[in-house]
C-alpha cells in the first residue's frame, strides 16, 4: 500500500515544544467495535496538532478519553506528568478544555451561564452574576461578539451554539485545548476569528488539538498532523512534510478527486417560492429550482437560510407568500404534506431534527419510507432490511450492523444515515442544509458525485452550505442571503468567493 511511505516514526520533539499531554497505548472498545487499538498520541505546547481520519476512525473517542469522559480499556493519559482519571472534573482540573463534536449546552440556561458552566464565579459562596457576565462577554468578544450573554442557549442556531461552546473552552484556564470539529456550522468570518484566537493561545503556550474534515483549515493552522485509521495510529508528521494528497492518502489509503459539477439538461420548474415572509426572519423571498438543477444557497451564519428551508418544508409557519411543487401549492406548517408533495430535507442539526437516537440505524433510515414498506398493514421487515443494507453499503456507513443504535455511530456516519433516509425515498426536490457537516474527505467527494448524479436523474437540489468550495463546485446557480433576504442570484460564471462574500456581507 502506498501509505507505507508516509508511515515513518515521528521525529524527536523540537526542544522548545514541550509535550504537555501524552497518551500511550490507548485501547478502547464498544460492544462490537474496537474504536481505538493501542494508539499513542501527544500534544505539544505552542503547537496545533490536527487529528485526522475518516468517519469512525476513532478521533472523537480519543478526544472523549482525553476529556475524561471514557476510561481507556488499556493505556494511560497524563498532562504535564499528572495522570488523568476517567472523570471530566479531573480533566478540567489538570488543564484540559474540550469542545466536543456535538454541542453540549443546557438549553434553559443563558449564554453566559453556559460559558461558565460548572465554573460559575462566586463571591462569599454566592453566585456573582456581574462577574459571570463580564467573563462571558470577554470570551464572546473573541469569537462571537454578536451574541447576547443573557439569551437562553436553547434559542440559538446550531452555529451560535457552536460558538458558545468555543467561548466556553477558551474562557477556561487550560493547558490543552481540544477542538472536535469546531467549524462545521461556521461561515468564513467566524472561522477566521476562531483561527485568530487559536494563534493567540498558541503564542501563550497552550497545546491545541484540532479536528476537521476540511483540509484547507488544517493546512492553515496545524503544525503537526496525526492520522488515525480504523482505530489505529497511522502516523504523526510535521505539516511541512505533507501536502493535500499525502494527507488524504494517509487517511483513506487512495486518491480522492475534487468533484466539479458538469452541465446537464435543466427541466421544468419543481420548486417555486414566491414572496415568502416570516416575521423577523424572512422577508419577501422568491426563487425557483428546476428539475436537474443544483441551486446553491450561501450566506453568513444567521442569514436565514435554515429558516427558509424550515418554511418550505412546513416545519415552521410563515406569514405570507406561497410554496409550490410542480405547480401544486403545498400546505404550510405540515412536513407530512411537504414530503408527500415530493420534498426531502436533510436538516442542519442532525441530532435534534433528524435522528431518533434510541432507535437503530435501520429504523432511522426508513423512517420517512414506512408508507412504502407497508402491505396489509404490516411492515415488511425484510424489505426494510434490504433498503437499509443497500444504503449502508452505498454510503459506506460504518456500523457494526443495521440494528446498532444510531447514537453510537461516529458523527459523520450519523450524518450519512440522514442522507440515506432521503436517498431511499428519492424526492422531487431535495433540500440539503449543510449536508457534508462532519463528513470525511473521501465521503464528501462521493456525496458530491451523488448529488450530481441525482440532479442528472432529474431531481431538483437546493444546497445550503457555509462551505464556499462546496457551493462553488456544485452549484449551477448561487443564491446569496443576507438578513432574511435574497441579496443576489449569481450564475455559475458570476459566482466566486469574492462576489458571494461581498453580497453576503453588504449587498
Amino acid at each position: 500500500m502506498s501509505v507505507a511511505e508516509v508511515l515513518r516514526p515521528d521525529e524527536p520533539a523540537a526542544a522548545e515544544c514541550r509535550q504537555v499531554l501524552v497518551a500511550q497505548g490507548i485501547t478502547k472498545s464498544f460492544p462490537g467495535v474496537l474504536a481505538l487499538d493501542n494508539v499513542d498520541f501527544d500534544v505539544r505546547s505552542g503547537e496545533v496538532t490536527a487529528l485526522l481520519g475518516e468517519n469512525g476512525a476513532g478521533k472523537s473517542t480519543l478526544i472523549k478519553m482525553i476529556a475524561g469522559f471514557y476510561s481507556p480499556d488499556r493505556g494511560d493519559i497524563s498532562v504535564d506528568g499528572v495522570p488523568l482519571h476517567a472523570d471530566p472534573a479531573s480533566a478540567h482540573r489538570i488543564g484540559v478544555a474540550t469542545i466536543h463534536q456535538d454541542a453540549h449546552l443546557v438549553p434553559a440556561m443563558s449564554v453566559a451561564e453556559n460559558i461558565m458552566l460548572g465554573r460559575w464565579p462566586t463571591r462569599y459562596g454566592w453566585l456573582s452574576v456581574g462577574r459571570q457576565r463580564q467573563r462571558a462577554l470577554a470570551a464572546l468578544a473573541k469569537v462571537a461578539p454578536h451574541l447576547n450573554p443573557s439569551t437562553p442557549a436553547g434559542r440559538l442556531s446550531p452555529a451560535d451554539q457552536q460558538l458558545v461552546e468555543i467561548a466556553r473552552a477558551i474562557s477556561e484556564d487550560s493547558k490543552v485545548l481540544v477542538m472536535d470539529e469546531p467549524t462545521t456550522s461556521l461561515s468564513p468570518p467566524e472561522i477566521d476569528r476562531l483561527f485568530g484566537v487559536v494563534d493567540d493561545l498558541k503564542a501563550k503556550g497552550l497545546g491545541i488539538v484540532f479536528v476537521s474534515h476540511w483540509l484547507e483549515e488544517v493546512f492553515r493552522i496545524a503544525d503537526r498532523v496525526t492520522v488515525l485509521r480504523d482505530g489505529r495510529l497511522v502516523g504523526t508528521r510535521p505539516i511541512a512534510e505533507l501536502d493535500h494528497d499525502k494527507v488524504i492518502r494517509m487517511m483513506v489509503g487512495r486518491e480522492v478527486r475534487d468533484t466539479v459539477a458538469d452541465t446537464r439538461p435543466i427541466g421544468d420548474v419543481v420548486l417555486s417560492v414566491s414572496n415568502l415572509s416570516r416575521a423577523n426572519v424572512l422577508s419577501d423571498i422568491s426563487f425557483e429550482v428546476r428539475a436537474g438543477e443544483i441551486v446553491g444557497m450561501s450566506g453568513l451564519v444567521g442569514a436565514g437560510r435554515s429558516e427558509l428551508a424550515a418554511c418550505i418544508f412546513g416545519i415552521d409557519p410563515y406569514d405570507g407568500g406561497s410554496v409550490t411543487i410542480a405547480g401544486e401549492a403545498i400546505a404550510p406548517n405540515d412536513p407530512k404534506a411537504a414530503i408527500e408533495a415530493g420534498i426531502g430535507l436533510v436538516p442542519e442539526d442532525r441530532r435534534k431534527q433528524a435522528l431518533v437516537s434510541l432507535l437503530s440505524v435501520r429504523t432511522n433510515v426508513t423512517l420517512s419510507l414506512l408508507d412504502r414498506l407497508t402491505s396489509w398493514g404490516l411492515l415488511s421487515t425484510t424489505r426494510e432490511e434490504e433498503i437499509a443494507e443497500r444504503q449502508i453499503r452505498a454510503l459506506a456507513i460504518k456500523t457494526p450492523s443495521s440494528k446498532t443504535r444510531v447514537s453510537t455511530l461516529s458523527g459523520g456516519n450519523q450524518q450519512k444515515v440522514v442522507l440515506a433516509r432521503w436517498l431511499a425515498r428519492r424526492p422531487k426536490l431535495l433540500i440539503l442544509d449543510e449536508p457534508t457537516k462532519g463528513i470525511d474527505v473521501g465521503a464528501k467527494s462521493e456525496i458530491s458525485e451523488l448529488v450530481i448524479r441525482l440532479a442528472r436523474e432529474g431531481m431538483a437540489i437546493l444546497l445550503i452550505s457555509s462551505e464556499l468550495p462546496e457551493i462553488l463546485a456544485l452549484s449551477d446557480r448561487v443564491l446569496v442571503m443576507r438578513s432574511g433576504r435574497i441579496s443576489a442570484s449569481l450564475s455559475r460564471e458570476q459566482a466566486t468567493s469574492e462576489t458571494i462574500m461581498s453580497y453576503a456581507t453588504t449587498g
Partner: protein, 349 residues
C-alpha cells in the same frame, strides 16, 4: 459513485450474531431474576410450584397487565396516564349498571363501557396535544372526574349481580388455560405486533424518542399521541370488564391507586419514562415480577407490615440485578471482542 466496502474493523462480522443476542438479553436480565426467584420460592414453599398457584398468580396479574399494555403505549411517547384506574372503574360500573339500571342488553353495555374508555382517552389526548397541558395534569384531572362519575352513577356502591356473560368469561378455559389469561396474552401479542411491525408502532417510538425529528420525518406526532391515549383508555376499559368478571360486580371502589402499580410494572419492565424505549415483553415481565413478589410474600406468610418491607426490598433488588446483569453482559462482550482482536496477527506499524 465509487463502490467502497463498509470499512469495518476486521473480524467483527463474526460477532454480529452475538450483538443482537445482547439485545435479547436485556429483557432476559429480568427473566433471569424471575427464574431465580421462582427457584428459590419452590424451595421455600411446597405449594408455590403448583399449577393452581401459578394459575392464580397469572390470573391476578391479568388486570394490571391489560392496563399496562395501554400505559406502555402512552409512556413510549413520553406521556403518562394517571386516569387508567378511574377509567377501569367507570367501565366496570357502566358494564353492569347499564344492564341493571337502564335495562340495556349486556353486549351493548359492554360496548358503551369500551366507548367510554376511548372517549376519556381522546379527551386526554386532546388536552395534551391541543391544549398543551402536561400529561400528568391532564390525566390527573380526568382521573378525578372519571372516578367521581363512577361514584355518581353507581351511587357509591358496587353493583351486583352481573350479567351471565361475565361469569362465563371468568370461568372460561381455552385448552385448559383460563380464558382471561389467554385474552391478556393475545392483547399483549397484538400490541407487540402493532409496535414492532406497523407504521403506527414505528411512529410511536419515533415520537417518543425525538418528537421534532419524527415530525420532520413526516409523522403526525399529535395524532400518534392522541392515539396512544385512546389505546390506553380502551385497554383500561377492557380491564374494567375483566374486573367486573373477577369480582362479579360493577366495582366503583376497586383499583384505588392502581395507576401507580401499573406505571411501576411498566417501568420495571424496562420502558423508559422519557419515551422511545421498551416493549410489551419487558412490560409483561415487570407485571409478572410484581405479581410474584406479592404471591411469595403471601405464601411465606411474612408477618404483617414486614411484607411491605420485604416486597420493597425485593423490587429494589430485582431492579438492581436487572441493571447489573445488563452492564455485566455488555462488559463481558467487550472483553471478548478485545480477546478476539488480540489473537490476530500483529498489526502493521
Amino acid at each position: 459513485m465509487t463502490q467502497r466496502a463498509p470499512t469495518q474493523p476486521g473480524g467483527l462480522a463474526a460477532l454480529r450474531g452475538k450483538i443482537s443476542f445482547i439485545d435479547l438479553m436485556q429483557s432476559a436480565g429480568l427473566m433471569a431474576v424471575i427464574l431465580l426467584g421462582c427457584a428459590v420460592m419452590s424451595f421455600l414453599s411446597p405449594v408455590f410450584a403448583t399449577v393452581r398457584n401459578i394459575e392464580n398468580v397469572l390470573q391476578s396479574a391479568t388486570i394490571i397487565a391489560v392496563v399496562a399494555i395501554g400505559q406502555t403505549f402512552v409512556i413510549l411517547v413520553a406521556g403518562i396516564d394517571l386516569s387508567v384506574a378511574s377509567v377501569l372503574v367507570l367501565s366496570s360500573v357502566l358494564s353492569v349498571g347499564l344492564v341493571q339500571f337502564q335495562g340495556w342488553p349486556p353486549e351493548l353495555a359492554i360496548l358503551a363501557a369500551l366507548v367510554a374508555g376511548l372517549v376519556i382517552g381522546l379527551v386526554n389526548g386532546l388536552a395534551v396535544t391541543k391544549l398543551k397541558i402536561p400529561a400528568l395534569i391532564a390525566t390527573l384531572a380526568t382521573m378525578t372526574i372519571a372516578r367521581g362519575l363512577a361514584y355518581i352513577y353507581s351511587g357509591g356502591t358496587n353493583i351486583a349481580p352481573v350479567p351471565r356473560i361475565f361469569v362465563d368469561l371468568q370461568a372460561s378455559r381455552i385448552f385448559g388455560v383460563p380464558g382471561v389469561i389467554v385474552l391478556t396474552l393475545a392483547l399483549a401479542l397484538i400490541a407487540q405486533i402493532v409496535l414492532s411491525r406497523t407504521q403506527f408502532g414505528r411512529s410511536v417510538y419515533a415520537t417518543g424518542g425525538n418528537p421534532l425529528a419524527a415530525r420532520l420525518a413526516g409523522i403526525k406526532t399529535e395524532r400518534v399521541i392522541i392515539a396512544t391515549f385512546m389505546i390506553s383508555g380502551l385497554m383500561a376499559a377492557i380491564a374494567g370488564l375483566l374486573i367486573t368478571a373477577r369480582f362479579e360486580a360493577g366495582a366503583a371502589t376497586a383499583a384505588q391507586g392502581m395507576e401507580l402499580a401499573v406505571i411501576a410494572a411498566v417501568v420495571i419492565g424496562g420502558v423508559s419514562l422519557f419515551g422511545g424505549e421498551g416493549n410489551m415483553g419487558g412490560m409483561l415481565l415487570g407485571v409478572l415480577l410484581l405479581g410474584l413478589v406479592q404471591n411469595a410474600v403471601n405464601l411465606l406468610n411474612v408477618p404483617p407490615n414486614w411484607d411491605s418491607v420485604v416486597s420493597g426490598l425485593v423490587i429494589a433488588a430485582a431492579a438492581a440485578l436487572d441493571v447489573y446483569r445488563r452492564n455485566y453482559l455488555e462488559a463481558g462482550m467487550r472483553k471478548k471482542v478485545i480477546a478476539a482482536k488480540a489473537s490476530k496477527p500483529a498489526k502493521q506499524p
